[in-house]
């Protein structure tokens, strides 16, 4: 192998493993910290190279540190993902059967929704209808909290959505199960849950909220980038200087390891639109 791992890489990997996901600024701080502690060479702009070395050695283990964008704030994140057999069973060591069933139901609700969210009321009703073992309202609430705590779901005003970690980690699985329901974001070409949709029935492209904000910034008269129809949604304000988040590279890297043929099909159809 070209570049061997040092203790700096190992410490970085361990921290990502115990966190599941970290954001871009944490990754930068951690990169510096790990190099300092191990007495290794550190240069600020070499984070991606640093992670490439780790990924090279993780590859035979079917793991990968993947870079992705949050659907909520448009920021970059790094998560450790499995590149083979990415299924819900990945979580099974932590969850009971009925909890996993609830999670699948939540994913159904989210995938079938227009805006990538599921309301707590709908989820609570699901708990009542589980086949494996019903959950009482109170229990469902507790399980929901656990999903949020373990960073599989995010919650905002009683609406639940799939977390960045969940999407990054389970993308191949999501694409297999919901192949007809899912579409990619027209801007960044990643899977889009929390998004806006073009209302022209022949078009119907989706765009992540941060991507919408970025794309229409400074345009008073927004039109769909695909069919040029008027864009009827409110353009969200993103209070971060998103441009500095090196958007093109995140779009590219997020899609790095794709193994299943299904996903490449999904990507092609995404482009055709």
């Amino acid at each position: 192998m070209a570049r061997p791992m040092g203790d700096s890489h190992r410490r970085f990997l361990q921290t990502i493993m115990s966190n599941g996901i970290i954001d871009g600024s944490q990754a930068k701080a951690l990169h510096k910290h790990c190099c300092d502690v191990a007495g290794a060479n550190y240069s600020q702009d070499r984070l991606d190279e640093f992670i490439d070395v780790i990924n090279l050695h993780l590859q035979p283990m079917f793991m990968h540190i993947r870079k992705g964008m949050s659907e909520e704030d448009g920021l970059q994140y790094y998560a450790l993902v499995n590149t083979a057999e990415t299924e819900v069973t990945r979580m099974s060591s932590d969850y009971a059967d009925n909890e996993l069933e609830l999670f699948r139901k939540i994913m159904d609700l989210v995938a079938e929704s227009d805006n990538g969210t599921a309301s707590s009321t709908d989820i609570l009703n699901c708990g009542d209808a589980l086949l494996s073992k019903k959950l009482k309202k109170k229990e469902t609430e507790q399980v929901l909290n656990k999903f949020v705590q373990n960073k599989w779901l995010t919650e905002k005003h009683g609406e639940y959505s799939l977390s960045t970690r969940c999407i990054m980690e389970m993308e191949p699985y999501l694409r297999t199960i919901y192949q007809d329901l899912l579409k990619n974001c027209h801007v960044c070409d990643n899977i889009a849950f929390q998004c806006q949709m073009c209302e022209n029935p022949d078009c119907g492209i989706r765009m992540h909220l941060p991507c919408v904000a970025r794309y229409f910034r400074g345009r008073s008269d927004p039109h769909c980038p695909a069919c040029n129809e008027f864009w009827p949604h409110e353009i969200p304000e993103m209070h971060r200087p998103l441009a500095s988040q090196s958007q093109p590279s995140s779009a590219k890297e997020n899609t790095a390891p794709r193994s299943t043929p299904l996903t490449s099909q999904g990507r092609r159809s995404g482009r055709r639109l």
């Binding site: 190992r10 361990q14 115990s18 050695h57 035979p60 283990m61 079917f62």
Partner: protein, 260 residues
């Protein structure tokens, strides 16, 4: 609880028998294959298949380790290695190498009789780790407190002492705790299963009394000198003022140095 007591009453005998039976069982499963058998097995699997098996074992151990429960070699054989049994030694060698080289973890056999493994971190835990990145596990706070009490009391304490100490911290083992739930169960069952603590009946006590010691995992993972420094800060004393503990911490430190 009653079962535990009964078990520990005749503990030695029963445990000996059990572990003997178990190890016999596993020895069968792992009877040294002859050289030619190994050769034949190697030829019947492609290098890619063997690579994949190594990856599966690594993932299996990583997932099991999330719960911090020791991993039985028999379980690895049964659930992952399966028909690759003849070359399990080659596979495990590569698994150990991968943990060492890629993850900075060491696969340690903590019980050679029943072949139990745990993963131990080879990288030293640092107090100045970016705090926001360490997942806060309140249970570990409790565990660290108990380990400190045991260490400062000379390595072994009666359980009553620990319960009394925790009560002072408003963690009453008799009541359900908001975060820890059943405290007694957490300490005497979960931490014991995870090999952080040992919970053993004191012989010839009536009514029965139990004592707590450090478990194997605590010995491997917790830096005694760091612990002593933290306790020193709490009491505003030099770590070296506890001569016995200081000596033990120094000895443990040099031992783990030579192991690394």
């Amino acid at each position: 609880m009653s079962q535990r007591k009964r078990l520990s009453a005749s503990q030695n005998k029963a445990a000996n028998q059990r572990s003997k039976a178990e190890s016999d069982d596993e020895e069968d499963a792992f009877t040294q294959p002859s050289l030619s058998q190994v050769q034949r097995a190697k030829e019947s699997f492609t290098p890619i298949q063997i690579d994949r098996k190594v990856a599966e074992v690594v993932q299996f151990i990583l997932i099991k380790d999330q719960r911090k429960v020791p991993i039985r070699r028999a379980d690895i054989a049964k659930h992952v290695i399966k028909e690759y049994r003849a070359i399990h030694q080659d596979i495990m060698k590569r698994v150990i190498h991968t943990f060492d080289q890629v993850f900075g973890l060491k696969l340690v056999e903590i019980d050679p009789k029943s072949h139990l493994y745990i993963l131990v971190n080879k990288l030293e835990a640092l107090p100045e780790e970016p705090v926001s990145l360490i997942p806060a596990n309140p249970k570990h706070g409790l565990l660290f407190t108990i380990l400190s009490v045991i260490f400062m009391k000379g390595g072994v304490v009666k359980e009553a002492l620990v319960w009394g100490f925790l009560k002072k911290l408003r963690v009453d083992p008799g009541e359900r705790h908001d975060i820890f739930g059943d405290v007694k169960k957490l300490v005497t069952d979960e931490f014991v299963r995870q090999k952080y603590l040992e919970y053993v009946r004191i012989p010839h006590t009536e009514p029965m009394e139990f004592e707590l010691r450090w478990g194997v995992r605590a010995d491997k993972e917790i830096n005694k000198m760091k612990l002593l420094e933290i306790v020193g800060k709490l009491f505003d004393q030099e770590p070296s003022s506890w001569t016995q503990q200081y000596r033990e911490a120094t000895a443990a430190g040099s031992q783990s140095q030579s192991q690394r």
